[in-house]
Structures are given as structure tokens and as C-alpha cells.
């Protein structure tokens, strides 16, 4: 799912395998859930680059994304879509990964603009991460420099169609091939890279443990891992402690 040529660009309506689960009621319920899910997308737009400028017209009354059921959301924990709109510096990439791991499954990543595909016009920069799908599982790329709001809405509609037909499940790929993603993250941020989210435990919990979840890079992670400390809560300013 992570290679460029396997990321769907055009949604295809496929025939559902009939009688897959056997229970007709369960299938109807699943389809109803998928339909409802595809019609209420909450979008967290991580506006990293120039592409962010196309989002206000797409969201507000001119193009009105909300009539499709797509709304902006303020926190990652309540969002379904992570929209990365433009070039991503290595420093920003860290924050994007932290944001992505905070989101609840099922979650979808959309890369807008050419820069998320391969670095775009900033490909020569030492500071930008080139391929977004090296670090995160990307569901949809909307190429363009920058894509117009029509293209953004078209891409989101395709994502909705993929969600409805159950094809947009690259979030599972993050759990199933965590070692691959972690390898690229460690390459960019160093061996001591660690996020507050225990992805491996989550993979076990969701039943998405794959053969490539663990590997040499997760072993490296476990070697360096520092247990998380609860944040110290303090009232007022204690200058000695602050220093």
C-alpha cells in the first residue's frame, strides 16, 4: 500500500464479494457503518506549505466542503483525515508523525501538492523530507503545485468512495509494516527516535499484528526506549524548578 503505484488515484467501484461474512445482517451493518463513516469526515489539516492557501476557499462558502460531510477538526484525537498540505521539513515530519499516532483508527492521510509526493520544487533541500509515504501510510495523493480547490474536493470525494467501498485501509498498513516505517523514521531522526504512542501494543490490541510489524528497527527502538514519565503538574511559577 505504501509504494506510489499502489496508492489509488482513482476510486473504482468494485463488486462486493457476496456472502463473505455469511450473516446478511452483519454485512448490512458493515456497509451502513462504512457509508456513515464516509459521510462524516473530520479533517485535521496540517498546513505545512503553500497548499494550505487553497484550503480556506475549499472549506468556506465558495466551494463548501461541508456539503460533502467534510469538516475541519481542531484536535488530532477527534479527526479522521490528516491533510498534509505541502513540503515537509524533517523537523515538521516529527510533529506530523506524533499527530498521526494520536489519531484514532480508522484514519486516513492525504498528501496535497507535489512536495509530499517527492519533494517537489524543494527536492534539493537538505531540510525537507521527500516522500511522505516513507514515513506514514498515505491513502491519497493530490498532485499539483498547488491543486485547485476543485482538485482537493475531487480527491476527497475519491477518498470517500474508497472509505465507502472499504478500500481505504492503509492505516492498517502502519501497524502491519511498522518496521518499514520506523526504519525510515529512524533514518531521518536518528536511532533514539521514539514517540509517546506504543504502536506495537496498539497493533496487538487491534489484532493487526503482521509479520513485518516487528523487525530489526523495532528491536533498536526497544533498546533505546525510555519509559514515558507523567508530566509534572505545577501551579504558579516556581523559578528554581523552572531553571
Amino acid at each position: 500500500m505504501s509504494e506510489l503505484n499502489t496508492i489509488p488515484v482513482v476510486a473504482e467501484e468494485t463488486e462486493r464479494p457476496s456472502g463473505g461474512s455469511g450473516n446478511l445482517l452483519a454485512r448490512v451493518f458493515d456497509e451502513l457503518t462504512a457509508f456513515a463513516r464516509s459521510r462524516s469526515m473530520f479533517m485535521l489539516h496540517y498546513c505545512t506549505g503553500c497548499g494550505a492557501i487553497e484550503l480556506p476557499p475549499a472549506m468556506t462558502s465558495r466551494f463548501d466542503m461541508e456539503r460533502l460531510g467534510i469538516q475541519p477538526m481542531v484536535t488530532p484525537r477527534q479527526a479522521d483525515i490528516l491533510l498534509v498540505t505541502g513540503y515537509v521539513s524533517t523537523k515538521t515530519m516529527k510533529r506530523i508523525i506524533l499527530t498521526y499516532e494520536q489519531m484514532n483508527s480508522p484514519k486516513y492521510v492525504i498528501g496535497i501538492c507535489s512536495c509530499t509526493v517527492n519533494g517537489g520544487m524543494y527536492w534539493q533541500s537538505y531540510a525537507t523530507a521527500k516522500k511522505l509515504n516513507d514515513y506514514l501510510p498515505v491513502d491519497m495523493y493530490i498532485a499539483g503545485c498547488m491543486p485547485r480547490p476543485e482538485a482537493v474536493i475531487h480527491g476527497l470525494r475519491e477518498l470517500m468512495a474508497n472509505v465507502k467501498s472499504g478500500k481505504a485501509n492503509s492505516w492498517k498498513d502502519y501497524y502491519q509494516r511498522y518496521d518499514h516505517y520506523l526504519a525510515n523514521q529512524q533514518r531521518a531522526f536518528g536511532e533514539n527516535w521514539q514517540t509517546p504512542t506504543d504502536v506495537i501494543a496498539e497493533a496487538r490490541h487491534y489484532g493487526l499484528f503482521g509479520p513485518e510489524t516487528l523487525g530489526e528497527h523495532t528491536a533498536l527502538l526497544e533498546k533505546h526506549q525510555v519509559p514515558l514519565q507523567p508530566l509534572e503538574m505545577r501551579l504558579g511559577l516556581n523559578e528554581e524548578k523552572a531553571r
Binding site: S125, Y126, K130
Partner: protein, 195 residues
């Protein structure tokens, strides 16, 4: 007593009189309100002190750095502004590229800490007496200072990042007809290198 603004002549002559106190210095007026000053690196703190104390140069707008690899020098430019004189003074000094150490002017201008930290990160110039020479913007960076001339950003990218091969079908169709991308990135790179 009514206070009046000094005229342009008064400012010019006043500044030039003031700057005579520092020896071995070249001044050049780039415009009516822009004065370029070239001086030895030892005299810069004295110049700043003089300008701050006697001409109201309280505003250090920026410190910029230029790399001159052929002369093996760094050029530091201190941009100063006075709200009384309304003249921008650009003080140029040259320091040796190796070891690339200069003295901080943090004691005179506190905003210098910000500029010096930035120059330290981008060019590797160390400022003695600056309050913090730690990592600033490039917190994930462990390579050489990236704005030095000898740093090859493209080679770094090739070495440190995965590359996306982009060979779409429509391009192969066009190439079959004799068209396509006229200058590939690697050719462009070669051309820039040989220039």
C-alpha cells in the same frame, strides 16, 4: 529650547567626524541614508560602543554572514540603525574561516544572541561570550553547517533521502515520439558543476 531634527549635512559631517576616532577604516556612502563601513575585526566592538554611546545607534537590525571560500574568510555585516540620525550603518568585517571564531556583541546588543546563534548554526562561526550557541532551527541536523559554500545540498539529498522514481505512462508515450523532459536533473547538476 525647541528641538529640531539635524539636517542631512549635519548628520553626514557629524558621523564622519565621529568615525575618525577609529583608525584604519574605510567609509562609503551608498546613499543619503546608507553608510558602509569596512574595518578590521578588532575595532568592531569599539565602533559599536562609539555609535551606541555617541550617535544613538541603539538598534542592531541584523548580523549577516557571507562565506568567501576563495579568500578563506567569513564576512560579518552588522546592520545598525539610529532613530536620531536616521542613517543605516553597515559595518563589514572579515574574519578567518579557520577557526572561525569571533567575539559576541551580546553585552552591547542583546538581540545579537539570536543572530549569532543563527550564524553559528548555518555557518559554524563560533561567537565567544554569546549566551547560547546550541541548536536553534535545525534541531534534527547533525551534518556540516549547511550554508557554507562547500556544502553540496544536492549530494546530501542524494545520500540521505530515498528517491521517488517518477516514470508515468504518459511520459513514456511522449518520449517514444521523441519528446519528453529536455534537461534531466542530473544533467543540470553536471552543467552547474562544470561552470
Amino acid at each position: 529650547m525647541k528641538l529640531t531634527r539635524p539636517t542631512q549635512d549635519q548628520v553626514t559631517t557629524g558621523l564622519e567626524y565621529l568615525l575618525q576616532q577609529i583608525s584604519g577604516m574605510k567609509t562609503r556612502w551608498d546613499g543619503p541614508r546608507r553608510l558602509r563601513v569596512d574595518l578590521a575585526s578588532e575595532s568592531l566592538p569599539a565602533l559599536l560602543e562609539l555609535l551606541k554611546g555617541r550617535a544613538g545607534y541603539v538598534h542592531l537590525s541584523a548580523i549577516s554572514c557571507v562565506d568567501w571560500p576563495d579568500q578563506n574568510e567569513f564576512e560579518l555585516v552588522y546592520h545598525l540603525w539610529s532613530y536620531e540620525m536616521n542613517v543605516l550603518i553597515m559595518a563589514h568585517i572579515r574574519i578567518a574561516r579557520e577557526p572561525g571564531v569571533y567575539v559576541s556583541v551580546y553585552d552591547l546588543y542583546h538581540p545579537a544572541a539570536f543572530f549569532e546563534r543563527d550564524i553559528h548554526e548555518m555557518f559554524g562561526v563560533f561567537f565567544e561570550g554569546s549566551p547560547d550557541m546550541g541548536k536553534f532551527i535545525l534541531t534534527e541536523w547533525d551534518g556540516p553547517p549547511p550554508m557554507r559554500k562547500e556544502f553540496d545540498g544536492e549530494a546530501w539529498v542524494m545520500e540521505h533521502f530515498n528517491w521517488q522514481d517518477y516514470q508515468p505512462d504518459w511520459l513514456t508515450d511522449i518520449e517514444a515520439q521523441g519528446g519528453g523532459i529536455t534537461t534531466r536533473p542530473e544533467e543540470l547538476r553536471h552543467r552547474n558543476k562544470t561552470k
